[in-house]
């Protein structure tokens, strides 16, 4: 009866993990496709105001971002607590905006340049003065399509 002795007696066989890589790869591909790399680190507080009459900004490659708000606690010693503009990775002045817009336009293909939108990501505690200055600079360089980026929510949350 040696034939039957080989059978293990009541032990649970190990779970086959051969398909685990497949599952993980599937997840991996999903996230690879859905990923948009975070391109700039925020140095300012950026609590967006809420609004419900919003339009979606799809086509992320056609959007230029201008951030504004109070510097983060880590930068306050250096830059103070007055609201500042951030372009790409650094604090900027209002006068830097035209150069930034030209550089952004230059980096895009020529046929899509007329469709570029400027997204203003402004902290809700900022004063309108700085926003007005930004808008004036944008008008000077003919970047007229803007979008006030907001969270989706009721205005009473503001």
């Amino acid at each position: 009866m040696s034939k039957f002795n080989k059978k293990n007696k009541g032990e649970i066989p190990a779970v086959n993990t051969a398909s685990l890589p497949d599952i993980v790869f599937m997840l991996l591909f999903f996230f690879m496709v859905a990923t948009v790399m975070r391109d700039n680190e925020l140095k300012i507080n950026n609590q967006l105001p809420a609004a419900d009459q919003v339009e979606k900004l799809d086509k992320k490659d056609l959007v230029m971002y201008i951030y504004a708000g109070k510097p983060n606690s880590g930068y306050q010693a250096q830059y103070g607590t007055e609201a500042r503009i951030q372009l790409n990775d650094k604090f900027s002045e209002v006068s830097d905006i035209p150069a930034f817009i030209y550089a952004e336009r230059e980096s895009k293909r020529e046929e899509v340049r007329p469709f570029l939108t400027t997204a203003l990501k402004v902290d809700k505690e900022t004063n309108m003065g700085i926003v007005g200055d930004i808008k004036q600079e944008l008008r000077k360089v003919n970047a007229l399509k803007i979008n006030y980026t907001t969270r989706i929510g009721d205005v009473s949350l503001n």
Binding site: V36, R38, K56, V131, R139, K145, I146, I152
Partner: protein, 200 residues
């Protein structure tokens, strides 16, 4: 010598490698798309001709430095702006049915308010000290007024709201005819154009 079959590659660490990549992409992913209120700034023109606009066709909203809202020089709370803007835009006080009139307006036809939605302009002014949150709230209410009017008009004409039509237009799987839908949307936009000026 007997031919040796090559040993099988150990794939046990494959999962580890995949996990490593997976965690990297998990951390760097931002899935949500941004959304916000889209506006178009007026271009700077060298020699501007002054267009004369009747005072009754302008609806002034002023946000002062203390975030108080003054509509036509009267203090108003945020909740009332939408209704006030709707009343102004949909007034239709113009004479006749031609250029000046408005045969689809449902307002009071008050001769001291706007002629028709095409001529009615909302002018939003702010001061430097106005907070951005208050400004966005008011913008939102004013856009909501336009959307409301378009919705009502769309219900009358086509039996569905403007917002539904916009949603259908953007939906790739919507089975209807997009060209006619676009025409309908354009008609609504022409009847209630968003004439919202942001003055510095």
């Amino acid at each position: 010598m007997a031919r040796r079959s090559s040993p099988e590659v150990n794939a046990g660490s494959m999962a580890d490698i995949a996990f490593l990549l997976l965690i990297f992409f998990l951390v760097t992913t931002t899935i949500e798309t941004d959304s916000g209120i889209s506006r178009k700034l007026p271009p700077i023109e060298e020699d501007q001709e002054d267009v004369i606009i009747k005072q009754r066709n302008i609806f002034t909203v002023l946000l002062n430095g203390k975030d108080q809202i003054l509509v036509e020089d009267e203090l108003m709370v945020l909740e009332d702006i939408r209704a006030a803007a709707i009343e102004f835009l949909d007034n239709g006080g113009g004479e006749g049915n031609g250029e000046d009139g408005c045969d689809y307006c449902k307002g009071d036809r008050d001769p001291s308010s706007s002629d028709n939605p095409d001529k009615a302009i909302i002018s939003l002014k702010n001061e430097r000290e106005t907070s951005y949150a208050a400004y966005i709230s008011v913008q939102n209410e004013l856009v909501a007024a336009y959307t409301h009017l378009r919705n009502v008009r769309a219900e009358d004409l086509y039996g569905e709201s403007y917002e539904e039509m916009m949603k259908n237009y953007k939906d790739v799987n919507w089975p209807g005819n997009k060209t006619t839908l676009k025409e309908k949307i354009n008609r609504l936009r022409k009847e209630y154009p968003q004439k919202l000026s942001e003055v510095q």
